[in-house]
């Protein structure tokens, strides 16, 4: 569970910053970036409390 939630957190951070790089390269729109960053926010707050709690 801990490993899974850590993977989820890493993916959330990826969703927070990678779409912006894709906007810069012209691969996606700013609107798509907003949606992906919001998905990243939800994923971060769902996944992170599991492992950050255990890490103290």
């Amino acid at each position: 569970m801990k490993t899974l939630s850590m993977i989820g957190s890493a993916a959330a951070l990826g969703l927070t910053v990678v779409p912006a790089l894709l906007v810069m390269s012209g691969a996606i729109t700013l609107e798509a970036n907003r949606s992906l960053m919001t998905a990243g926010a939800v994923l971060w707050f769902v996944a992170t409390p599991f492992w950050m709690k255990k890490a103290g």
Partner: protein
């Protein structure tokens, strides 16, 4: 209710009772904790305001990149070579250290000034959060020149946010503190992601475009109407003194006394360069992309959608709560018969009223400079007492040595320094540096007179 100063002093001591002894060896913290502390503490809601205000004040791109680089370096060096060496030698928090130098009455006044500043700071955080909470309600956003509440919507949103923040502070904010810790890494990347995402709308399509666009569209060097022009020196000094109360003002003795070595002060770079460099630059880019809009909610939404709005709410809220809690704690000392919840509620009301005025947010640079300036002289007193008095043949921590309730050299250093620097024809950002040396000089001269008189009397 009458104010019994002795009663107040006893109450202050009781609140700090747990911290009376120096930190024992086994309680010292590792480097990782300090890196996390600094990174979390300095990526806050106000970063969404400070970056845009630099843009509004007409900072140039070179001045931003180099001025912030050097200013933050000076801040890191201040933590490393001024604050931490004293912290690890005494292992006392600022309260007990200052009490031994100045006596409890001076400390009482210092505590009240500090509490008021905490209230205004928490008020600015509530304003920041309100700009994001108001987004779905199409609330009219405060503009740069707005000093007073600009709409009924603003007043209602600020009151609701203030009410929630105050309630959480009354109930105890431990869970929120944990939430704040969880949010920190994500929040920093929201700044980065949002800033990068809007670059194409400003004309950046490759890395080689960046510097040209930075100069022509973001940090153009031209202030907005009604704003003063910021030079390299404004930016460098602001970055250095943004946390003046913490480093040269010595408030972080309380934190750094848990450090194993002086070099842990260098870990303040984690906060300075993530929060006060990357985040300020990113929020400046967002402001330019939003055509000069400075309200944090809309600019964060522009780059990051709901994630940006959530980040603004979380950033403002998680900083406002502990700040309000600390203010309540300090105010409790002047109302010893009141229960904690009642004091925190009173502090929350003051804070919410302050938050109603957008001036607090729009003039945040000036407020932050004033906050540091008001508390800085006591840091200079601690420095002079610890390093200079023994070398000059004078006794350090004189109030403790002689059992004084009021040691006037510290009070004189504080008040005279502020009176003189306020009179100096300098902008507020530049007053602290001469003020620090002035406070040191006044305290040494005062201590010499005080101790010589005592020796003559004996």
């Amino acid at each position: 209710m009458g104010l019994n100063v002795r009663n107040v002093v006893d109450k202050l001591d009781a609140l700090n009772e747990y911290d009376r002894e120096p930190v024992p060896e086994k309680k010292l913290q590792g480097a990782g904790n300090f890196a996390g502390f600094f990174a979390g503490e300095h990526v806050a809601g106000t970063e969404f305001v400070i970056g845009p205000l630099f843009v509004a004040h007409g900072a140039s791109a070179f001045d931003m990149f180099v001025g912030l680089l050097l200013g933050n370096l000076l801040a890191v060096l201040s933590w490393t070579f001024v604050t931490t060496p004293i912290a690890i030698r005494t292992r006392l928090n600022l309260y007990w250290h200052l009490r031994q130098i100045a006596g409890p009455y001076v400390l009482f006044a210092y505590n009240i000034v500090n509490a008021l500043m905490f209230c205004f700071l928490a008020g600015a955080m509530i304003s920041v959060s309100a700009t994001a909470v108001g987004l779905p309600f199409k609330m009219r956003m405060p503009r740069l020149e707005d000093m007073y509440p600009n709409s009924i919507g603003w007043v209602l949103v600020v009151i609701v946010v203030g009410l929630i923040v105050t309630t959480v502070a009354i109930l105890g904010f431990e869970r929120l503190a944990r939430f704040s810790k969880i949010s920190a890494p994500w929040m920093f990347l929201v700044f980065v992601g949002a800033g990068l995402a809007v670059l194409p709308s400003l004309g950046v399509h490759s890395f080689s475009d960046f510097w040209r666009v930075a100069n022509e569209r973001i940090w153009t060097g031209a202030p907005l109407a009604g704003q003063t022009k910021f030079t390299f020196w404004h930016i460098m000094f602001f970055a250095w003194f943004c946390n003046l109360a913490m480093h040269l003002g010595m408030a972080d003795l309380t934190t750094m006394r848990f450090a194993k070595k002086s070099s842990y002060g260098l870990l303040s770079a984690c906060g300075m360069y993530l929060g006060h460099y990357v985040a300020w630059l990113a929020s400046g880019i967002l402001c330019a992309a939003a055509l000069g809009e400075v309200a944090p909610g809309p600019i964060a939404y522009l780059g990051a959608g709901f994630a940006g709005a959530i980040a603004v709410i979380v950033a403002g809220w998680t900083t406002a709560n502990p700040t309000l809690y600390r203010a309540g704690l300090a105010f409790q000392t002047i109302t010893p018969d009141w229960r904690r919840w009642k004091v925190t509620l009173a502090a929350g009301i003051v804070t919410t009223i302050a938050a109603l005025f957008p001036a607090l947010m729009m003039k945040l640079l000036d407020f932050v400079a004033l906050y540091g300036l008001l508390l800085m002289p006591m840091g200079a007193v601690v420095f002079a007492d610890f390093w200079l008095l023994p070398r000059l043949g004078l006794k350090a921590r004189y109030a403790k040595t002689r059992g004084l309730a009021f040691s006037w050299p510290a009070a004189a250093a504080w008040i005279l320094t502020l009176v003189i620097v306020m009179w100096l024809p300098l902008e507020i950002f530049f007053k602290a540096l001469p003020g620090w040396f002035l406070a040191v000089a006044i305290f040494i001269i005062g201590s010499y007179i005080q101790q010589r008189k005592s020796a003559d009397a004996a």
